[in-house]
């Protein structure tokens, strides 16, 4: 039966479904004047031990240290030694050189897939510098900078990207899904945001054992819509877990702009408010601000102050991955017009402004890093590239499903070996 409201002329307004739409599409001129950028140094810095609610004004602000004059300003200036600044600059530049070369390697057919982090280097490199080496990192897929900042060998990373016979993950993971227990870098999952409850659990375990290690985890702003995000924040606040949630708001989740994760209504840092978690919103392209915020959160966690959520407000200057074409869904000018600049250039300009660096040194370093990456790539290619036969022995396919091989996997392993001998009789036995 039709309801009374179906009758024409009833006096209720029709409801409307809102479907978010980004400001610009391909062909549109870009104007970022709607992005509010407060002056560097203007944001208050509460004590690390403050109640979570004291941070809430910062969830709607933007912590910035480096000003237009390339100088550090305000209470968030971490006052780092020039050597540390140069080291962070070097690692960010190395990440960029690595990304460029691996992008080309994918285009040359040496691997199936690659993901650059251009424009986001500070959010991993500088954040990692604010942690201790034994703190556990639960990364997402764009945190190659964390591994590089911890000194992981480039050849190991490329072996993983090529899934070759030296890949210590035995060719099982997608390229860029690294893992290093030695460097306290957890295995990366393709299912998004699953690392957030895991980081919280690690932090809870550390606290329950009276240890001093903390956990830090990274997630894209799009994945904050996953249930795991909410579980993790609930557990973190309930148990006051020593964990840092880094939300990388790079504006785009493949082709979906941040509005599809709720950005039109609230900043991602503001997600912390409802959970009673400390929240900071940071200029993610300001290396000093990123370091300072992460250090603040790490000190808070380590002194039993509990969890912090940091929104790194940044921009994904490249496509989501080598399988993505951003020109199909966003304005070509967005990356170049991004009003918060480029993190590598900003740190470089700061070091030059304080008399600790020069353009010539930068050029020399870029050339040196490029050579370093090239040599690592050559070294890795001796172990093979994807699909060129130099992969792990056949039987490794069945290893590590369980600690011990059960009867059904033994049978299937024997089947696979028989098939291999029929399919590729010319291959020497492995």
């Amino acid at each position: 039966m039709a309801s009374a409201n179906d009758a024409k002329g009833h006096n209720r307004p029709p409801l409307r479904l809102h479907v978010p739409e980004p400001f610009y599409r391909p062909g549109d001129a870009v104007d970022f004047s709607h992005v509010t950028i407060p002056p560097a140094g203007a944001q208050p810095r509460p004590d690390e031990a403050c109640p979570a609610r004291d941070t809430y004004p910062l969830c709607d602000d933007l912590i910035r240290v480096l000003g237009e004059d390339n100088q550090a300003h305000g209470p968030w200036d971490p006052r780092l030694a020039p050597e540390t600044l140069r080291q962070m600059l070097r690692e960010m530049a190395l990440v960029r050189a690595f990304d460029n070369r691996m992008y080309r390697a994918q285009r040359q057919g040496k691997t199936s897939f690659y993901m650059k982090c251009t424009g986001e280097e500070a959010t991993s490199v500088c954040a990692t510098h604010a942690l201790d080496a034994d703190d556990m990192i639960f990364p997402s897929y764009r945190q190659q900078g964390c591994l590089i900042a911890r000194g992981y060998r480039l050849t190991e990373m490329i072996n993983q990207i090529y899934s070759n016979r030296a890949d210590k993950l035995k060719g099982r993971q997608l390229p860029i899904m690294y893992c290093s227990k030695r460097l306290n870098f957890f295995s990366i999952s393709g299912n998004l945001a699953t690392q957030l409850p895991q980081a919280t659990g690690f932090a809870m375990a550390s606290a329950s054992k009276g240890d001093s290690r903390i956990a830090a985890t990274w997630v894209g702003e799009g994945s904050t819509a996953e249930g795991d995000f909410h579980s993790a924040l609930t557990f973190a606040t309930v148990y006051n877990a020593p964990v840092i949630f880094n939300v990388i708001n790079n504006q785009w989740a493949i082709s979906s702009f941040s509005g599809f994760a709720g950005a039109e209504r609230a900043n991602f840092a503001a997600r912390a408010i409802g959970y009673g978690v400390a929240g900071l919103r940071v200029d993610g392209n300001d290396p000093l601000a990123v370091y300072a915020a992460e250090r603040w959160a790490a000190d808070r966690a380590r002194s039993n102050g509990g969890p912090t959520l940091i929104e790194h407000f940044t921009y994904r200057a490249e496509g989501h991955s080598t399988s993505d074409d951003p020109s199909a869904y966003r304005s070509a000018d967005e990356g170049s017009e991004w009003p918060l600049g480029d993190p590598v250039n900003r740190l470089k300009n700061h070091l030059i402004a304080i008399g600790e660096w020069s353009e010539a040194q930068q050029d020399a370093q870029d050339a040196e890093l490029d050579t370093m990456v090239k040599e690592a790539q050559k070294e890795a290619e001796k172990n093979g590239i994807l699909g060129h036969g130099l992969h792990h022995p056949f039987a490794t396919m069945f290893e590590d499903v369980f600690e011990e091989l059960p009867w059904h996997l033994k049978e299937q392993s024997e089947q696979a070996i028989r098939e291999r001998q029929i399919k590729w009789p010319e291959d020497p036995a492995e």
Binding site: L169, R172, V238, D400
Partner: protein, 352 residues
């Protein structure tokens, strides 16, 4: 044929006393919390209150709030933090209050816990034991009665365990907690307090006076992947686990059927040797489980028996299962695979 536990292990476990399945599970958790400082228990209502089925009663008081504690209502969170705890080096034992509630935690179990060893080439492991009451027969309606074991047996990297007696529950649970792989430990809640023979209109039985409810106080293990022969017989093999072991046994006793009943105990890894030996001996095979029929674990068992024992079979393999409907509250006893359904299947197998 595999059985159980050596005399020496039982002696080492100390004095035995009567326990129901809840007490046996509690004892296993108590033993492991005492032996291993890395064992940690978490779940909804398991701390101060001791769990809605009382399986963790007294453990928080004895072992402290940081080792046995309540959690938010978030299965994804419970299992997700357990993965992180495992990465740290603990052996978490999360409880999911009812197996029906496990679905929000499935991604953390299937994509994370189960694959962590594989994807990290054994750099990280997730040595957790997810305990969860499962199965019907307690008027739990469609959200407190399910048997979702087939979902987990389909996943590479997970082990699935279902005890049928107090003695097994303790010995198997200790093995699960010490195992370095993630395990789902399903507790058949209909038999927590006593074995159930399937005759819903008769008085409930008790574990009292039964040998399989005489449980050592101390530490002992029953290895995973070893079935238990419940009754030896020649007429047919019955493959069952959990509550259905007792129902099948009661039917055979009532009908005077000389069955060889195998309690599988663990579905992954499966004791294929025991199954093959039994079916080759009897030539007939009946599979009984509570879960819905289509794509249930019985389908896998039936396929395995057919593939491996076809020329020894004298009748088609039969399955007795729940129906392919949700579990109906008021018609629970019409749904439950009880004596009538099992009896008819036995008659059919034996007449061929």
């Amino acid at each position: 044929m595999s059985d159980v536990i050596t005399q020496t292990q039982t002696e080492a476990a100390g004095e035995t006393r009567h326990m129901n399945m809840i007490e046996a599970i509690n004892s296993a958790l108590d033993v492991m919390l005492t032996r291993d400082p890395d064992v940690i228990l978490l779940g909804e209502d398991i701390g101060y209150f001791g769990g809605v089925f009382r399986c963790t009663a007294g453990l928080q008081e004895k072992h402290g709030k940081t080792r046995v504690f309540d959690t938010p209502i978030s299965e994804c969170g419970i299992i997700g933090v357990a993965v992180g705890m495992g990465a740290y080096g603990l052996r978490p034992v999360p409880e999911i209050q009812f197996a029906d509630y496990i679905y929000p935690g499935l991604d953390q179990l299937i994509s994370e816990a189960a694959r962590l060893r594989y994807r990290s080439a054994a750099e990280f492991i997730a040595p957790m034991t997810v305990r969860s009451p499962f199965g019907g027969g307690i008027f739990g309606g469609q959200t407190h009665s399910q048997s979702p074991e087939a979902i987990f047996t389909h996943v590479s990297g997970l082990k699935t365990v279902v005890p049928a007696t107090p003695y097994d529950a303790k010995g198997l649970l200790i093995s699960c907690i010490e195992d370095n792989d993630p395990v789902i430990f399903f507790e058949p809640k209909r038999i927590y307090n006593g074995p159930f023979d399937g005759y819903y209109d008769k008085p409930a039985k008790s574990w009292k006076g039964r040998d399989d409810a005489q449980v050592p106080d101390g530490y002992y293990k029953i290895p995973l992947g070893k079935a238990r022969m419940v009754t030896d017989g020649d007429a047919l093999t019955i493959l069952a686990y959990g509550t259905m072991v007792h129902v099948a046994q009661a039917v055979c006793e009532a009908k005077g059927v000389d069955a060889q009943i195998l309690d599988l105990r663990t579905l992954v890894p499966l004791d294929i040797e025991a199954i093959e030996a039994s079916v080759r001996h009897t030539g007939r095979c009946l599979i009984v489980h509570e879960a819905t029929r289509t794509s249930g674990f019985g389908a896998e068992l039936s396929a395995l028996v057919t593939e491996r024992c076809f020329y020894h079979l004298e009748a088609p393999v039969e399955r007795v299962t729940g129906f392919d409907t949700p579990y109906p509250h008021s018609l629970e006893w019409a749904y439950f695979p009880g004596p009538v359904r099992i009896g008819e299947a036995i008659d059919k197998i034996l007449q061929d």
